[in-house]
Symmetry: C2
Subunit: 333 residues, 2 copies
Amino acid sequence: MASRYNAITDVDGILVGHHSRLGDGWATGTTVVLCPQGTVGAVDGRGGAPGTRETDLLEPENLVSRVDAICLSGGSAFGLAAADGVMRWLGEHSRGFPVGAQPHEVVPIVPAAVVFDLPRSDWGNRPDAEFGYAATEAATNGPVAQGTVGAGAGTRVGSLKGGVGTASVTVDGFTVGSLAVVNAKGEAVDFGTGRAFAADFEVASEFGAWPQRAGELPLHTGLDDLNTTIGVVAVDAALSKAECRRLAVSAQDGLARSVRPAHSMFDGDTIFALATGDRELSEVEGPFAAQARAAALDRLCEAAADTFARAMVHGVLTATGLPGLPAYRDVWH
Amino acid sequence: MASRYNAITDVDGILVGHHSRLGDGWATGTTVVLCPQGTVGAVDGRGGAPGTRETDLLEPENLVSRVDAICLSGGSAFGLAAADGVMRWLGEHSRGFPVGAQPHEVVPIVPAAVVFDLPRSDWGNRPDAEFGYAATEAATNGPVAQGTVGAGAGTRVGSLKGGVGTASVTVDGFTVGSLAVVNAKGEAVDFGTGRAFAADFEVASEFGAWPQRAGELPLHTGLDDLNTTIGVVAVDAALSKAECRRLAVSAQDGLARSVRPAHSMFDGDTIFALATGDRELSEVEGPFAAQARAAALDRLCEAAADTFARAMVHGVLTATGLPGLPAYRDVWH
């Protein structure tokens, strides 16, 4: 069952904000996922060309387990600067890891990843700290704008325009939601039929009818070999940092089912996981408590994979084209 | 044998620049290690509280193997912004990973790590992109300023002021150099004798005579539990990315020998390794070529451990005190 908005914001306390610039030599932006206090974070990277920040601290054996926000951005490594603005906003709101006696003396924990979308903008036009600040300021619960917006403003997926997509599901009373910034080297769609590779994971006819006819393949220039899909999966369960990482591991399976090839040397595919901690993962006690907990975690992981794949499809279907880069809806209008 | 400057800049083509602010509520800064084109980079992190950027791409299995600079900075996670300025400087000089047809269309590769020195400055005073730009602009070969400067401006080591230190050695005709930003939770000195724990690794009387008398231990406030030692080890050999990582692994041994405890949950100890590629690691051919190459690498690794320990000692001995935080030279003057 999909939740209310079919979005990552169906997870209580999770807010999403976009900031993008489109036109006048710009097609890039930043998407921020803001977490409620006490949210546990983790990450899994499986691409050969990642651009990241503050991922080492998320290793399960390390000190910090709470994160304040995840910053996803265009601009390749230049876009890592967007996280500076997210940190500034959070600091102004006294949110972060406490390091002093005063409430405002905090170091906000903002892991970040970027996608390679530089060819969509004039050289030098990239997200900076102001993009991160504006996206955080804009963050809300409720419906999430999808397609050519935020970090998905300048993305591509194979031969088509990519975008931001999101999806959610409820399982065992928990809500699992994913948000993907679709920017893969691989294709997401069978050009012979117009059907998304991850079409099988559809819930409640969310994708609509598939065209069942060939699309005219746009010419691939071959100049955009660097790509990278990034995203976030969130759940309202209370998880350890290591358990939380399992969600990110599984979400990568959703990515693998959505684009072909996936996880190439020219993708930096990085997925963050968030556990907001509303409710314990399992109530089972006694000798089988550990197995029951692991089985409960696996059900969330399956939901992580499925929602991430669905988010990917939404990112493709909702994207609008840019000059020279048609979207799915342009090819199968 | 120590090389000319007993500094990481003894490795041909390696430049070091500092930018710091001291006084008027400031004691923090940034140190940039600038690499010659084609330098292979790697990283090893062994502390529980790292603050890092662009470390994932350095994993041996990932695409990018060349780095343009390493950015070391104070300011905790806020100081990761310094790398934005290093990237800007490099971009202005058309240095980076090529992503377009024009020479200036590059993405500079600038892995970065930060130390926790926030208690040394008024709240809000931290390195930003301008610090990174200025440190890069200031980078030179030749002697390297040590002590309370650059990323070492606001550091501490146990009960004492820490600082930047550097050292080098030649082995098998290669030059190995280390630079350490000493900011450990552990102590670096035996307070009963004034002798550095890593005194044994001295080369050519570089540390001078040890006092052999007890020092008056400054009161440890206990408020500075977050620390982190960061640094760089460089060699002029041609190494693969995986081989290069062995240098960083070994340099962590030098850190372990220098401070007690080392690699705690409250340190984010991260060491980068650079191989500039002037000369092949081993000329041996035939059935024992692989073993000979591994043995040659191990000799460089031993030098990495030793020079990093020596750099740590120099960082302690050259530091000058700050109000409320005496340096070694204040206690054993």
